[in-house]
């Protein structure tokens, strides 16, 4: 029996991602659904008094900040009209709770409490209020799985806050002081990015809309023989601790082919 279980486990390990993710999704929607239902109830019931106060404080801050939004939007529309730039397509968000698990790989992928019946689809970006978390890789009926920036396969097209320097953000393959971080790769050697500069999604590639914060530059990580600099990027969203996220239904992403002359 032991050897049989080992053989089946090894077989599952050898499954390609295209087969493994749907299998996991099917199991979540059928056999293990009652357990997930229980965990979703547990997450919902967690809203304690202190957490409620924190949310209330956040809401009050947002209300104050939103007073200036109307003016900014009107100004933005006027400037776009003057420069002849078309209006940015609106995007909508779907709130979701993160169902953390107790295995060490939790954080590379996270389980979300909404699925296809909530409007989530594979390829939707996932963001926390602080910044980008990842992208949905499999959407089941009631839950979905997102690959976070800590996953070795994660990549996102990035740009500095001022829009001057483009690069690719990817997870670093090493840890420093027990902390995972990102790298901003592909920055031309002639370009310099100062420490502390905010890096956000560029909107290229058709997956992530432009303007989701990714992280702040924390210095040069390495230089590739005079043609590229790789910067260390401190991510803003922490997939290991985040409790609530927003699934972004992107409408304004730009395909790479559209951005070329």
């Amino acid at each position: 029996m032991f050897l049989g279980c080992l053989a089946v486990g090894a077989g599952a390990l050898a499954l390609p991602d295209g087969l493994a993710q749907p299998t996991a999704g099917w199991l979540r929607d059928t056999v293990f659904r009652p357990l997930l239902w229980l965990q979703v109830r547990g997450e919902e019931d967690r809203t304690s008094r202190s957490r409620f106060r924190a949310l209330q404080a956040d809401r009050d801050s947002m209300a104050v900040a939103s007073h200036s939004v109307k003016g900014l939007l009107a100004e933005n529309d006027r400037l776009r009209a003057v420069l002849g730039i078309r209006a940015r397509a609106p995007s909508r968000t779907i709130p979701a709770e993160v169902l953390h698990q107790s295995v060490p790989t939790d954080g590379r992928t996270i389980l979300l409490s909404v699925g296809r019946d909530g409007g989530v689809a594979g390829g939707d970006p996932v963001a926390a209020p602080e910044g980008l978390i990842g992208v949905v890789v499999n959407a089941g009926v009631r839950t979905s799985v997102a690959m976070t920036w800590a996953h070795p396969d994660f990549r996102v097209s990035a740009v500095t806050e001022d829009g001057a320097i483009l690069g690719i953000a990817a997870p670093a393959q090493t840890f420093e002081a027990s902390e995972a971080f990102l790298e901003l790769r592909g920055v031309a050697y002639r370009d310099t990015v100062a420490t502390g500069v905010m890096v956000m999604t560029s909107g290229l590639g058709g997956v992530y809309p432009r303007g989701i914060p990714i992280g702040r530059v924390a210095g040069v990580r390495r230089e590739e023989l005079g043609w590229e600099r790789v910067y260390r990027l401190m991510p803003l969203g922490n997939p290991g601790h985040v409790a609530h996220v927003l699934v972004v239904k992107a409408r304004g992403a730009v395909a790479v082919s559209d951005s070329l002359p």
Binding site: M1, F2, C5, L6, V8, G9, A10, G11, A12, L13, A14, L15, D17, A20, Q21, T23, A24, L27, R28, F32, L35, L36, L38, Q39, R41, G42, E43, D45, R46, L99, H100, Q101, S102, V103, P104, T105, D106, G107, R108, T109, L111, N138, V145, H151, P152, Q173, T174, F175, S178, A180, G240, H241
Partner: protein, 165 residues
């Protein structure tokens, strides 16, 4: 010592109770990376009181559940939990699970080994193994051991054990 039918029923009941603790109580109280893993705790307690073959199958199912909920590398948890349960079932012949400290040690070592196996089978880069091996796995092992001691103490009649310490 293979459990009697009544004893087996209680062990299954205890396992169900730990499942509820894992999926309902843990998210409400503490679901950080160092939080106790009641699922693995239930598996070890179950494996210590059953045959190795049965333990391997239950371990595989628990691992499959973990893989389904965290599919960073599908199959890694199934393999790791199978090995954990099978080893724990054989370990009964070597250890004496009637001592609280021995129980705590088994839980801690089991969780640490499980985490290391999952990280290795998930193709984690060697540089990233350090923090897991030295920080997170020991912390989770410690918290699970403490939770395990409490569970064993409270449910000692169900597990039919006479605690020595």
């Amino acid at each position: 010592m293979i459990a009697t039918r009544r004893g087996t029923g209680r062990i299954y009941l205890a396992f169900a109770l730990l499942l509820a603790l894992h999926f309902y109580v843990r998210p409400r109280i503490w679901d950080g990376r160092a939080a106790p893993d009641f699922l693995a705790l239930g598996l070890i307690l179950f494996a210590l009181r059953t045959r190795p073959g049965v333990a391997a199958i239950v371990g595989f199912l628990v691992g499959l559940l973990a893989d389904t909920l965290t599919p960073a590398r599908f199959g890694a948890n199934a393999l790791a939990h199978t090995v954990l349960a099978y080893t724990a079932a054989w370990g009964r012949a070597v250890f004496f699970p009637d001592n609280l400290l021995v129980n705590a040690g088994l839980f801690a070592v089991g969780i640490w080994v499980r985490n290391v196996l999952v990280m290795l089978l998930s193709a984690t880069p060697v540089a990233q193994l350090g923090p897991e091996l030295l920080v997170w796995a020991p912390l989770q092992a410690l918290s699970t051991a403490v939770a395990g001691v409490v569970v064993v103490f409270v449910l000692r009649d169900w597990f039919a054990i006479r605690l020595e310490a």
